[in-house]
Symmetry: C2
Subunit: 466 residues, 2 copies
């Protein structure tokens, strides 16, 4: 957790690192304007908020660092609700480093990742889930990811959570009223109605939790490992999926050594395809390292594309490989490659062998292709998509943040305890405690309840300069 | 050449592509403000120049694309001297693409690389060498490159060229005066003084031309290929130079297949180190591709680091390799690796063998190292630097642009013709013609003389958005 000291003026590059026409450096804090003023060729101490000023920035030895445009925002009319100055300079890394060093020498300190947005949160500009959405919005690279983040940033998700909390608070107040009159053994709240209300809230929470599968795939992409024996055509399949010659292919087994990673976007979902070295008894030291890496990659993946050569590899061998490779966390697609050479390989030939090793695969996950001829590759893409998005989720709010889904889970559990308590007739104060617990967990989502550790964790995942 | 039509409003992303807190989109042209106004939640049609406005941008279906800050610059108080609007949005590629598409639908067109600066040049904001310096400034990544570009952008180099031209114009006017009185056979200009003046100008031009070796190395870096037999320790040397484990190393010959490129900064000069596959009779198809690539890389390089194993490779073999590898364009450093295993390998052992194959190497270019023990690696870096920067060049102006150096060369040649003409007593009108030619070439540097092709060529090397 970065201690918030409004006397600290923070500085960071706000634009991506790299070569571009311009770069923007952002200063925020009490002294932002006076620090920027020191090295600037014009006086910006008395200027109005939301104005732009062209001039030169020079270092202490009067060497001109750059000609820039300076934007001035006077507190509280800024993103952080503090004084903010943005310096739009030429997009050279060297210039940016010089300017950052200059401002640090003159009293600013380098901002931690997310520190600008953290200040916006602490100064009441945004709630916590809105602040988190800022990072998601920046990272969004598809229509779906953008829509989720924008809805969350503009408070849609927060409102839904606040509504759930309000219902729970209403419910809790009835229960707590009973506590006040506990001597008299009255029931202000009809137990049956209470039960219905809790179940209703649980069902909304459950819907939000379920939306996370989609939300997570949209936001974080899907790790997809391509594995199989040497010369099964894994790199050829990668090239066919990407529609380009990314990996070196040859008919010599063991051509690929280092793992190759590329992104494939299917209907807005990003699949991180990971081509791996072929798996066999390693012939040498370099190959042994490669095989080890492949096993690691499979363990980290959500989907395993097991590729085999329908001519060379009989069903029993396929089954044996899957037994070794399959990881409980990965969904498996069985890619029967080189179908042009053996068009008679069908799922039923593999069914028996697979069932012996206890590998449950349906015919939908058996995909005959000829990577070299681009045959059935589009169907494979469709299957990849369907493997992730198993049903149409049309819920308006899609949860894409694992912190939120964890809080929703905990809240759901506390409500289970409420129901269980009502069933077993525990006293109202225990029920009230469980409700407060459910409220607490929902509250962490929007930041109505927060700890320093939590904030540190959230904002450290931001990019610097936001 | 992009035809300049001030009615065209151009748009582009001005910040680097990538994830950052913010991205900036720039619009320039007559309709910049009205186009930006259409989709914005506030009215910016009547606002003052150099003001900032916070609001939402929505598409035609009222979907909010982003919450942004808009900067307004009213002609001629802008970089291009046209109306300019800058939109500071969240740094998401998706949002940036949506905004660009929106503005294009509403009448802007995507800017060509450098088109904003081209407009600044055509509207008289900058001369041509200043405009070129903008691109150099953005690309600058060292103190030296920054200083050269900044001096050029602020007009230092332009002034020097303009002064040379003025001197030549004064000279030309004397000669042309003689032409007017050619019937009378008078000499207004003392031939000896004229000769001195031309020689003086040539010597300034020569100094500028010579500064290009340094300027080019500072600006563009130096291609440096590491080549040699398998297992000579090339990748180990690369790792030692970079001080990190960049390349996979093993004691198996032929570990490296794909070429690996990394940057090494030595005192502000960037060396692009290119590690290559070992050169031997290829064992297989993949290796043959690797060797071919190595030969290509050597042909494109300025420096060849030939690495050999002092235990395994006798002088005659080293000489044979160099005979095959040496390229007339590359300077060679002979890296005697694994000196820890044979500390007795000295330059004199190689001298005779090298002279037989007619390879001129001095002892300074023979560098015994032990890459694995990091022995003598710092000395190698020093030698690399000295190979590029052979002498201290303290000239104030350093030319770093190959177009400029070419114009300087041509101008120098025309002045040679002037001198030659005076020697051989040709008539003044021929001399005047050669002077005009020299003036023309100098004029192309600052853009006092320019053609559409030239401009197209210059600005197409800019990044988009500048």
């Amino acid at each position: 957790m970065i201690d918030y000291n409004p006397n600290d003026t923070i500085v960071a590059l706000a634009t991506p690192v790299g070569i571009g026409a311009i770069g923007v450096i952002r200063l925020s804090g009490k002294d932002a304007i006076s620090i920027a003023n020191t090295s600037f060729s014009k006086d910006i101490l008395g200027v109005k908020s939301h104005t732009l000023h062209f001039g030169k920035i020079s270092d202490e030895e009067k060497n001109i660092i750059d000609e820039v445009l300076i934007s001035v925002f006077i507190a509280p009319k800024s993103y952080t609700k503090e004084n903010v100055v943005e310096i739009s300079c030429h997009g050279s890394n060297y210039i940016i480093q010089q300017l950052l060093a200059l401002y640090i020498r003159q009293g600013a300190r380098l901002a931690q990742p997310g520190e600008f947005t953290q200040r916006a949160f602490l100064n009441g500009q945004l709630d916590l889930s809105q602040a988190e959405a800022v990072a998601d919005l920046i990272a969004s690279n598809s229509k779906q990811a953008h829509a989720i983040a924008m809805q969350q940033m503009r408070g849609g998700f927060s409102n839904e959570i606040k509504e759930l909390r309000q219902q729970l608070i209403d419910f809790a107040s009835l229960i707590e009223l009973e506590l006040d009159f506990s001597e008299e053994d009255v029931e202000f709240a009809n137990r049956e109605e209470l039960r219905k209300l809790v179940q209703q809230i649980q069902s909304v929470i459950q819907g939000l939790i379920q939306s996370f599968q989609l939300g997570n795939a949209i936001k974080n992409g899907v790790n997809t490992v391509i594995a199989g024996r040497p010369n099964a055509g894994k790199s050829t399949l990668l090239n066919a999926l990407l529609n380009e010659n990314r990996a070196i292919v040859s008919d010599i087994a063991g051509t690929t050594r280092d793992t190759i990673e590329e992104l494939l976007n299917i209907q807005g979902i990003e699949f991180r395809l990971i081509d791996t070295a072929g798996i066999r008894e390693a012939q040498d030291q370099i190959e042994a390292i490669g095989v080890e890496k492949t096993m690691e990659k499979i363990a980290q993946s959500a989907i395993l594309l097991y590729v085999f050569d329908v001519v060379e590899t009989p069903p029993e061998e396929v089954a044996k490989d899957l037994q070794n490779l399959a990881d409980e966390n990965s969904k498996i697609l069985l890619i029967a490659n080189k179908m042009d050479l053996n068009p008679y390989a069908e799922y039923k030939h593999y069914e028996a062998a697979l069932s012996i090793v206890n590998c449950q695969l349906s015919i939908q996950n058996f995909i005959p292709v000829s990577a070299i001829n681009n045959m059935n590759v589009e169907y494979l893409k469709e299957r990849l998509y369907k493997t992730v998005i198993s049903e149409d989720i049309t819920s308006n709010t899609i949860v894409s943040n694992s912190r939120h889904v964890e809080a929703l889970h905990k809240s759901h559990e506390s409500l289970d305890a409420v129901l269980h308590g009502m069933d077993s007739g525990v006293s109202s104060d225990f029920i009230a405690m469980d409700i407060r617990q459910a409220l607490y967990h929902l509250g962490t989502i929007v930041g109505q309840v927060s700890t320093d550790d939590l904030l540190a964790n959230i904002f450290s995942n931001f990019c610097i300069g936001k």
